[in-house]
Symmetry: C2
Subunit: 351 residues, 2 copies
């Protein structure tokens, strides 16, 4: 058992919401979306302090494992383990694999690999403040203090204060409509569910046994029959396939009465759309977020990004433009969340 915290980085995602930049073979976390490093690298860099953190455990899909290893090596991070998900079974099962590989008393900091945190110091302070609760056996989730009536996230209602600045999680609520989101914002007691957790391995596994035992049994069988080679761990596929594909929220957090929420304002975004990237991006004097080979003439409030041909806009306004060598997406801001329609249309055409 380590006294330090073990970052557990979940890199199993294969999102296409940032198409055409993200694709099935190059998910969002492996791309330098908002800075010099990929989101995975940024995530790892946030937990590189050896006074506080152990080397990370990464859970990744087989198809991306090599890229994950290369990208971490690039920034001088050596994972303690690289656990290969035999198939995607959502976050509860993925975290169970990591918890079973680690010691029962180890404290896990569960981190999605594809989020942006612009104030890592605030995050670190929140982790430090929540650590005693986690050591006490609580399942801690970090709740983002909302700054707008966002309808794209789930919320956590905070309950009784457990210790200064830390609260019982009273209730998890699904993505609200805009009226409800506005009410949550005014209320002040609702926080965005960021999917970031701090708990000991055994507390999590105990809660899993109580609330979603099939996931625990499947993960345990899978780990029992694992293959290992260096840092690589291949849990057995047959065992793992029996795990229900539930998120940690649905499997455990919404059911357990040992869940605490640590509110934090840390410039967080899940970068779930080009809209979101415009919101968090560094803007020029005309409100444009420009990345790559771009010439924006007389253009305002646009997000324009090229990883391929030079993009020239003339008199454009409120546009999302993203180009790779293969594809160009163009949508007014506010429409870019419909990118799935684009992918569906292309798939129909056999692209």
């Amino acid at each position: 058992m380590s006294k330090r915290i073990v970052p557990v980085i979940l890199s199993g995602g294969s999102g296409t919401r940032l198409w055409p930049l993200s694709r099935l073979d190059r998910p969002k976390q492996l791309i330098a979306i908002a800075g010099e490093h990929s989101l995975l690298q940024e995530t790892a860099l946030r937990t590189r302090d050896p006074n506080m953190f152990d080397r990370p455990v990464v859970v990744a899909s087989a198809g991306h494992a090599e890229q994950v290893e290369l990208q971490l090596d690039d920034i001088g991070v050596s994972p303690a383990q690289l656990i290969i998900e035999p198939e995607p079974r959502n976050t509860a099962a993925a975290i169970a694999l990591a918890a079973l590989v680690l010691g029962p008393g180890d404290i896990l900091l569960v981190l999605p690999s594809d989020h942006v945190v612009k104030q890592p110091d605030a995050f670190r302070a929140a982790i430090e403040s929540a650590l005693p609760l986690a050591r006490d056996g609580m399942l801690v989730t970090f709740g983002i203090t909302p700054d707008r009536p966002e309808t794209g996230y789930g919320y956590i209602k905070r309950g009784a204060e457990l210790s200064p600045g830390l609260f019982q999680a009273e209730r998890f609520v699904e993505k609200p409509d805009s009226v409800t989101a506005q009410a949550y914002l005014s209320d002040g007691g609702y926080l965005w569910n960021a999917g970031i957790f701090l708990f000991s391995a055994d507390s999590f596994l105990d809660a899993l046994e109580l609330h979603a035992p099939e996931i625990l049994f499947a993960a345990r069988a899978s780990i029992a029959a694992q293959r290992a080679d260096g840092i690589y761990i291949w849990p057995d596929a047959r065992g793992f396939g029996r795990a229900p594909g539930l998120s940690i929220d649905h499997a455990v957090m919404e059911k357990s009465d040992r869940v605490a929420v640590a509110p934090v304002a840390m410039g967080w975004s899940d970068v779930g759309s080009w809209e979101a990237l415009h919101a968090i991006g560094e803007k020029d004097a005309s409100g444009n977020v420009l990345t790559g080979d771009v010439v924006a003439i007389d253009s305002r409030d646009c997000l324009i990004r090229s990883d391929g041909p030079v993009i020239v806009t003339l008199g454009a306004q409120d546009l999302i433009v993203v180009a790779t060598e293969r594809a160009v997406l163009i949508a007014p801001r506010g429409e870019s969340q419909r990118v799935k329609e684009a992918i569906d249309a292309l798939q129909k055409r056999g692209k």
Copy 2:
């Protein structure tokens, strides 16, 4: 001297108004802008009837001559001569070269190589009706009947009727402002100057001697010292360089009193901007002109063209989007004529 008409196709242009599709090394006339064939090919195909036309004489720049020859060969057209401009000296000098190569009584139909004519039958009828005047020594220009108050073209005011449907050209006027353009449209006596001419070689050369003798002398010296090889004619560069760089309008048409105008409505466009291409293009049910690998979802009144990556638009409206493998242009309709600003900006950046 041929009894038939000799098409003289001017392919010296190097326009960049349709950037990024047109470039210095691939001017507009060599691109399939509005159909299966390039504009040059379409121009040649309009004059392929051997009952009416001789084989064409093409005046081209050295840099494009090979492409010109290949493209014409592709459609089974063998030019009678391919005259290489030693340097660009505008249309008066280019036409003088062709007139000097041909016999004095030959009738020249001078055609820019980069225009669109959607009703070639109407064009042919206008040529037939103007032919007697040209044989009589008149310089005939074809004036397009305007269907909108266009400010992008010069106009010709028609004067006295010389024969049914054919008029003395009373006056050439520069591109008007929009109030004046509206007045021209209401008046009914003003026609767009399309830069298409019909005249005998000697009538043109006589007029050139009278109104711009330096051009005639320079062209004559250049042709006297020509090199020839098969269909290729290389007029001498030193002679040609002394020719003032004037358009045929400025050098001759605006000065001669032997100019006739033949009004014609033939679906003509000089395709001088992406706007113009949207105006003449075939539209889908939503008013979009789509060319190449394009998926327009919930998009209206756009021109979208790809010669490179697939373009996907989501909820776009009134946009011009043009992509090649090297560059993407995006501008609201009405702004696309500012494409020169884009080229200037890229040149500053060394592209």
